[in-house]
């Protein structure tokens, strides 16, 4: 076992983890944050996407032991005071989800994009979610929703 000391959704967490533990297991099993989904387990589908130090990563291929000092944001850390954030609301408004399995990952990829690049082109949006597979929507609604969320954010500022 090894101790990791890091931040999850703004709260400091200090835990003993197995040396080979993956971040997705630590989130789902140890911390009970089951919003992060596991699909393929090999970095292909993006269902397990979380934000580590501002960057979208696949938590299924992230070693928990390496997270000392890291700042992790999961889907549970996106809404504020029970209110959906702009990306989540736009996804609802654009009917950009059906079964919803891919949605937490897509929200995290979109958030990482918009936090770094508030005014992305359609191509940049496509790039940002190219690692998030969705079997239901066909992506167009998702892209529209993210573009709309960018606009909503800009209007609020």
């Amino acid at each position: 076992m090894i101790t990791v000391d890091f931040t999850v959704n703004g709260e400091r967490v200090k835990l003993d983890v197995s040396e080979s533990a993956r971040l997705v297991d630590l989130l789902r099993e140890t911390l009970g944050l089951t919003g992060t989904k596991e699909g393929c387990a090999v970095g292909e589908c993006g269902a397990c996407t979380v934000i580590v130090n501002g960057k979208a990563v696949c938590s299924c291929i992230t070693l928990a032991a390496g997270l000392n000092g890291a700042n992790v944001i999961t889907i549970e850390g996106v809404s504020k005071n029970g209110e959906l954030d702009d990306i989540q609301q736009a996804i609802l408004d654009h009917h950009a989800l059906q079964c919803g399995f891919c949605t937490p990952g897509i929200v995290m990829s979109a958030k990482a994009l918009l936090d770094a690049n508030p005014n992305p082109t359609t191509e940049e949006i496509q790039q940002a979610i190219a690692g998030n597979l969705c079997r239901c929507t066909g992506y167009q609604q998702v892209i529209d929703a993210i573009a709309d969320a960018a606009e909503r954010r800009a209007v609020q500022e």
Partner: protein, 290 residues
């Protein structure tokens, strides 16, 4: 599998001593995008590993800098960092372009160029531009450092570093002023033969003729390498579709000469010819379609 240990050394010295002590039982851990999957699949390359040595905190392995006309690219540079690097866009644009095609945003955010090369897959996308750039890997161990040209890192079973060895950086001359391109085919999970890529670089004289050329196809030879005859064909000539088509043919002839005719040749030959032609057209700024 053995119980794994994990270490995250903060200085290169500490790291190299650790690796020396653990010998063949130690495995460097960069972004983990290959290692985590090998661990999950209990692949043979991780069977005897007892210690993961996380390279994240090693300062000398990070960053890209220009020094005396040479680019020093830290092994821990992520694909996302390389793709966005202003320095690379000026001095080795096709390397930035190759990094931008790797996996997805999530993979580019964690996967590194050092890991891409050291994983030893013939389909490693950044290995082709590094080969075209004559890049050398700086290989460090507790007993010193050696510089190894990227293609020479490869042995029979992919990249063969000795126990205790680590790649700290890649060093290559600036290609500012060259016209470069990188194109690739296919997706990762598809058959290996459909993962071919080509990195090309052309240096043009004032009269428009080609003075130097580099063509490095990936996933064609056992290890990344250049196609010399095709390169030589171009010297002193003006860029044209016919010339580049001929370079494509010479490339596939060289492939057959070096790897023999295999079941995959019927597929690879026309694809390599087309990829080489297109890479050269793109580098020279000629339209891809007639």
């Amino acid at each position: 599998m053995h119980q794994l240990q994990y270490a995250c050394p903060t200085t290169l010295n500490e790291c190299l001593l650790l690796m020396k002590e653990a010998g063949a039982e130690a495995m460097p851990y960069a972004g983990g995008t290959d290692v985590m999957i090998h661990l999950r699949e209990r692949a043979s390359c991780v069977q005897n590993i007892r210690l993961l040595v996380d390279l994240a905190k090693l300062e000398p392995l990070h960053g890209i800098r220009l020094e005396n006309g040479m680019i020093h690219l830290g092994a821990m540079t992520t694909h996302a960092e390389a793709a966005a690097s202003v320095l690379l866009h000026e001095h080795a644009p096709f390397l930035a372009a190759a990094a931008a095609t790797v996996g997805s945003q999530q993979i580019r955010n964690t996967g590194t160029i050092g890991g891409n090369v050291c994983n030893g897959s013939p389909a490693a996308d950044t290995a082709s531009p590094l080969t075209a750039l004559y890049a050398e890997a700086v290989v460090a161990s507790a007993s010193g450092t050696r510089n190894v040209p990227v293609p020479k890192l490869y042995g029979r079973n992919g990249v063969e570093l000795a126990p205790g060895e680590l790649v700290t950086e890649f060093v290559f001359p600036s290609f500012a002023g060259w016209k470069t391109s990188f194109i690739k085919l296919g997706r990762r999970k598809a058959l290996a033969i459909s993962r071919m890529n080509v990195a090309a670089a052309l240096e043009l004289q004032d009269d428009g003729t080609i003075s130097s050329a580099r063509i490095a196809p990936g996933c064609v030879f056992r290890s990344p390498d250049r196609v010399h005859e095709a390169e030589e064909l171009l010297i002193g000539k003006a860029p044209s579709r016919a010339l580049f088509a001929e370079a494509g043919q010479l490339s596939s002839e060289e492939m057959i000469r070096r790897t023999g005719v295999r079941w995959s040749t019927a597929y690879k030959q026309p694809v390599l010819e087309a990829l080489v032609e297109r890479a050269l057209l793109q580098a020279a700024g000629l339209p891809l379609e007639e």
